[in-house]
Subunit: 470 residues, 2 copies
């Protein structure tokens, strides 16, 4: 009986401690959210990035502008240090606006359709390329065709994003393979070019670019993305005239690598300055529009963590480091440079959190960490954060940039915003500032700052008991 | 020991039964979501409603068009019955476009600003009204002023929606009082008109209308909403010239009540036809734009429940009834007519679920029911629905229409979509079809259908054990 009473007593002390800690945390997080929503600073910084450094593809002058402007904001917001970390980046240029025409004498058709070169593609000759078209819905289908039917042709990959995926990144993951590998696979069979259905959720007239790969052992052939609407038209036309011709012209090329920079800013930890929590997004963006959701949102989310801490006078125990990575889109050279440096810096990494899924209402964080720590987060952080709409810590994985810190860092994570609209804009001319809602953006920043606040306070589980924080 | 083993055995049987039931439910709900996302039918119906019956304010010919078109879709989708339920509705008409001017000789100002009459307001005289302005930030402030300063003036209510509310409906609730009661309160002190800052989340040039009240014992004075941008300008101008004049003119009026209709359609229950689950939204909309989010979304969400059940061959045990309520915006006369009829129909109500918070990504359902049943939903429905992003069953309350069924129905509920963008569009010319994302809309419909599926299968707790469904 005595034991039982003692147990009940201990449990009730523990619960009140837990509830008290949760209340304190909840109050601080409430201030973080209020300040983000009232100040509108992340939104103003995003405006600056989008309108003054819109088409900031790696190696471009606008990428340098982005580096300069964002380091300016970080200085203005009172970062303890701001510095630029050098990295060499690819320098791919699109050249003149791409053109494409569907040609069919049977259908009395000579119709221009919207296309754009895939990032890192070679261009066509000055006259463009013209050939018959083989339509497939994924790379696997090529093997089932007669190689003679593919040779000298343009392969048209028309696999759509499956609409039934509720989390649209899953649909993207299931479809993007043909964009990345489609040219290599088609070239193996002797195709002379590829046309890829834009990886997008809507049927409209906007082509969506994105990265593609080559392999030095396979001939390099040019690749363009076609708008989803034009993909439907091309497919319908092929059903009526399988011998129609497709012509396209692009003048993109890859120039020698150039020097570029990550932007790094931090608040030095008050108790464990050598322990680091990284928050980051990527500074570069495709050259189609303004990179507002991809990844202007992630850039200002990460910067706003620093500003919110400074504004609210939160003095972190650990060092909070904002890293704005260069070159996520076509090489992750910035992330690689940072990860190389991290191996030698003698610091201890607590967690690295990326934001690269848009400026939409935040829902949770993906986690790449041990199961025990995921359980700890579910038990300790989720009850507090769920009051602010941040409830989902079930997804695995992290982001393309912080993923390079896998060897150094036991907790990798990525902000999970609502995914429904992301692939309407992604990598197309629709990804502009006006498509970002101020409140949704600011909630994402507050979610990042709140998660960092808890990680800083409670550690990452590797030394919680040792350091007496619990 | 034997007892303990038996207990463990029973628990494990119970858990496997629970897990099996959850798997079956999860599979069915997965089909509901896939079908909603693939078919796009709710989106097409919303297009029809918005583009052919946009300004469908109660009593207008477009409200009749909405009744006819939406009952047409319900018939086409195979409802067992579709009928129109008569109700008398107010007939308020806006008249000519409203005008307003800030006039200050001190500031050399004679500037037109965007205003619109509040719904149910009286109009001004043909010359409009012109007077000095008293700015307040809520009705309480009037009591602290010298009544002589208010007499003969225009009262300008400039209380903004607090940006720090994460759930924007809370901010709305804290602000909308001055819109509803502001004219009555100001008239008590002898004011001759009121100008209300639009209840909206953005600073822009669009005035937002909405319902207001009068009291026969207090003089009726005209009321207009001013855009948030113009409200800021008026406030700034008053700081420089407190004697500036404001002129506005409106020609709105209330005509005699007219006959209108709720649209009612149902699938008859296979096992308990006399037990009813209601799903509904409101057919009427303010006359500013197309009523896409408010409440076209709720209308098609509710209709889509029926379509999804029919398409997937789900034969509900209980009767599923879609009620498209007329006149939510300025009287809820349709809801009152339905509730009156419900009292006499001899049916048993299981639940009534409204959708009137926009076509944004769904997050959960508010519940107005007993605590035990809320716990049951948290325990039984939430684990299944959370896989589809529907996790929040913590809010209280329901909607303005199903609220009238309080006496008949033990479970009232409202769909809770993401609230961040709702008050950007609400009651303004921005509430158009193009502002609704197809996937977000369809997820809302699927959430409604899934919740109804579970309510139909498991009942509302009043007779679960009796009927042996568990």
């Amino acid at each position: 009986m005595k034991k039982k009473l003692l147990l009940i007593f201990s449990i009730s002390i523990l619960s009140s401690k837990l509830i008290f800690a949760q209340n304190v945390d909840s109050l601080q997080i409430s201030k973080i959210f209020s300040t983000a929503l009232k100040d509108d600073e992340a939104y103003h910084a995003l405006y600056d990035l989008c309108k003054h450094a819109g088409k900031r593809i790696s190696g471009s002058p606008l990428a340098d502008t982005a580096v300069n402007r964002m380091s300016g904001w970080l200085k203005k917001w009172g970062a303890d240090t701001v510095w630029l970390q050098e990295c060499m980046v690819p320098h791919w240029v699109r050249g003149e606006k791409e053109q494409a025409i569907i040609i069919s004498s049977v259908l009395k058709m000579n119709e221009s359709v919207p296309v754009c070169a895939l990032g890192m593609s070679i261009g066509t000759s000055a006259d463009g390329i013209k050939a018959g078209v083989i339509e497939v819905h994924g790379m696997g289908e090529l093997k089932n065709l007669n190689p003679a039917d593919i040779k000298g042709k343009i392969v048209f990959y028309n696999g759509p994003m499956p609409p039934e995926s509720i989390y649209t990144f899953n649909a993207y993951g299931n479809t993007v393979g043909q964009r990345w590998g489609g040219a290599m696979e088609a070239a193996k069979f002797g195709a002379i070019g590829v046309v890829i259905r834009s990886v997008a959720t809507h049927i409209d007239s906007h082509p969506h670019t994105g990265s593609m790969g080559y392999n030095d052992s396979i001939p390099k052939i040019p690749a363009v993305a076609i708008s989803t609407e034009a993909a439907e038209k091309l497919s319908a036309s092929l059903k009526k005239d399988k011998n129609l011709q497709f012509w396209f012209k692009s003048s993109c090329q890859t120039l020698p690598d150039v020097k570029s920079h990550n932007v790094i800013a931090e608040i030095k930890g008050s108790k464990y300055p050598n322990e680091v929590i990284v928050v980051g997004g990527h500074l570069d963006a495709w050259d189609m529009a303004e990179g507002a959701h991809d990844d202007g949102a992630g850039v200002v989310h990460s910067m706003e963590v620093l500003r919110l801490f400074k504004t609210l006078g939160i003095k972190p125990q650990r060092t909070i480091r904002v890293v704005l990575f260069m070159n996520e889109e076509n090489g992750t050279r910035g992330a690689k440079a940072y990860a190389e440096w991290a191996k030698t810096s003698g610091e201890k990494y607590i967690a690295a959190i990326e934001s690269d899924a848009g400026g939409f209402t935040p829902r949770g964080f993906s986690l790449d960490c041990g199961e025990a720590y995921r359980d700890f987060i579910q038990m300790k952080f989720q009850p507090v954060l769920s009051h602010f709409g941040i409830y989902d810590f079930t997804r695995g994985g992290s982001g393309a940039d912080v993923g390079h810190l896998k060897d150094e860092c036991p907790v990798l994570s990525e902000l999970s915003p609502d995914s429904q609209r992301y692939f309407d804009h992604h990598h197309s001319e629709l990804d502009v500032f006006e498509e970002v809602n101020d409140r949704e953006l600011e909630l994402g920043a507050a979610a990042m700052a709140s998660f960092v606040y808890l990680l800083d306070k409670y550690g990452n589980g590797t030394d919680r008991i040792k350091s007496g924080e619990e």
